[in-house]
Symmetry: C2
Subunit: 337 residues, 2 copies
DNA sequence: CTGAAAGCGCTTACAG
DNA sequence: CTGAAAGCGCTTACAG
């Protein structure tokens, strides 16, 4: 691989000048630039990344940390979609992304290594279950970072989130407006922000209509298909006529349980999910669900992080993206009266 | 962040010695090692990655390239699972992974930058649709690389694959043994290795039983759920009593089409998929499918690549992992006669 | 077993 | 607009 030095020699200029050319420094004469560029192209020269980041003090690499709590749910396509949003935005800004799937076995070592070895300029954390330990490490690394999904208890960090509460309210409100009277819910983990917020939205939707909350109609899941399946079976004993499920994977599990119990959806039980994964529209029946712009969350998080890195400022970035209720067959809104 | 130099000063030794200690060089006295380590720990020192890789000539970073052809199918959880296998193995060997999802817009730039800037020590390519261009770039970068899934036409590269042909043969053979007489197939793209190999296995299973191949019973898909759905609808006109579908996502689409057509699975039409995604066991009815050890492919590819990097040798690594037919309800083997 | 020194390939004030 | 020089934080022969 050619080096800066060789390019300089072949172009008959100094290394400084070559450096300026490849970094688009305006203080270079057009003639010189042209001369240098031609040999850069001829040799297919690429600056050495390590040398560059050592000298410049930054790497144009972003770290993506997916904590181990999330890994469990990794058959959920959400993460692929999120990664796509992040990756595309990085490419657009000439950044690269390093990926760390936290394995519980390596989590501690990983955090230290990643955060303190100077490799990355900033960190995106998929924050479904971010421990205090990680958060502390993040803070004292001095790196810029941003969470995808707010932290359940700390508000002093940058994040991109969606309107989880409002989305849930809208979904439950919609079921109530269809005349459903026993609206149950399968929540996410009530230690996670989306779990908490969607649960809160459910409660608020009931309360705002003067309805009381029946604890028997609330079951806590963990966002996995299996927990939706078992959650639904548990709910069935209390005869709900509708269920708001806090994500699509669990909703799919719920549909499976209903099918096994020979209950019709939406005639006997209406179901609404959350996420609008590609799977939702193809479920039987097609799943009414609250769409969150997952790919866009990834893109916005990345964009924001890059801004923060390149234009350091005080102040927190807390961005909340809107959701949208996608009405399909499973909620009964399309039933002929 | 502390530097080697500071550690050296505080430990009262030279930088060389500190370097030896943190690199586990045996030529250090136990006393010195202990002294140095205590200050390393006290300051929570981490060697600067860029400096290290500039000086040492390697980075302990592996690149994972997912070509753009694959991105389309990215709602398929296969890639998440693959990434998990890769990531875990990297952690176990103290490597990190950089991720590039090829966006068609950036593909060309990406390849050059990644491959020639010295950042990574080797490359894993998820090779569903790897272009000649990428392959050429890979070769003349001089980097070690390995494909996950063999290349459809070139055999002069390292790869990890599964027994696609044998797996397909077994699946189709199984259907024939159940007494199915019009066994159709929805193939993957016939430009991709798994598409070709599973199609070949289908043909061979028929031929080896002296059966003729009916072109009307063969439809080409693209591994997406949608293509399985439309493929099945197309097949229905020719009244198959069984369908071997080349992956689970398409099989799910096929089941959806059968449900819409009010055909019973497996009574009217038996269905067998390929992959054994978590979804397969939870389909209605549970899907008989050929399991491929996806996570293990990722792990083996990573392991092999690291071996190649650390112990360069001539010779190609071509590893083929076994598959296993998972018999569930959809193939009819569990029907009462 | 330990240290002094050169070098990895860049960037970036500083002069001119 | 251009160049000489210092420096980024490590590793690695080479001596001793």
């Amino acid at each position: 691989m050619p080096t800066l030095e060789e390019i300089a020699e072949l172009s008959d200029v100094s290394r400084s000048t070559v450096s300026r050319v490849i970094n688009d420094d305006p203080h270079v004469s057009p003639a010189t630039r042209k001369k240098v560029m031609s040999v850069v192209r001829r040799l297919n020269y690429q600056p050495h990344a390590a040398a560059r980041s050592l000298a410049a003090g930054h790497s144009r690499i972003l770290g993506l940390i997916v904590p181990s709590g999330v890994t469990i749910t990794f058959d959920d396509p959400m993460y692929s979609i999120l990664v796509r949003g992040i990756s595309a935005t990085c490419m657009g800004h000439n950044y690269s992304v390093m990926l760390w799937l936290a394995d519980p076995d390596y989590e501690r070592r990983m955090i230290n290594q990643i955060l303190r070895n100077g490799l990355i300029d900033g960190v995106i954390v998929s924050s479904l279950s971010i421990s205090e330990e990680i958060l502390d490490a993040l803070f004292d690394s001095g790196l810029s970072f941003i969470l995808v999904g707010r932290h359940p208890s700390r508000d002093d960090v940058n994040y991109v989130d969606v309107e989880n509460r409002r989305g849930a309210q809208e979904a439950v409100g919609h079921l109530l407006r269809q005349g459903r009277e026993r609206v149950a819910t399968i929540t996410g983990p009530l230690t996670s922000a989306p779990g908490i917020d969607r649960h809160t939205g459910y409660i608020e939707a009931l309360r705002s209509r003067g309805l009381s909350v029946d604890e028997h109609l609330i079951v806590e899941g963990d966002f996995s298909e299996a927990s939706g399946y078992y959650g639904m079976r548990q709910l069935l004993a209390h005869e709900p006529d509708a269920v708001f499920v806090a994500n699509d994977m669990m909703a799919l599990g719920g549909l499976r349980a209903l099918r096994e119990a020979d209950l019709r959806v939406p005639e006997d039980v209406a179901v609404v999910g959350y996420d609008d994964l590609p799977l939702a529209a193809r479920a039987t029946p097609p799943l009414t669900t609250v769409r969150q712009p997952i790919q866009r969350m990834g893109a916005v998080a990345t964009q924001t992080l890059i801004d923060i890195i390149e234009h350091p400022t005080a102040g927190l970035h807390r961005i909340v993206l809107p959701t949208e209720l996608m009405v399909r067959r499973s909620c009964g809104a399309m039933l002929q009266p």
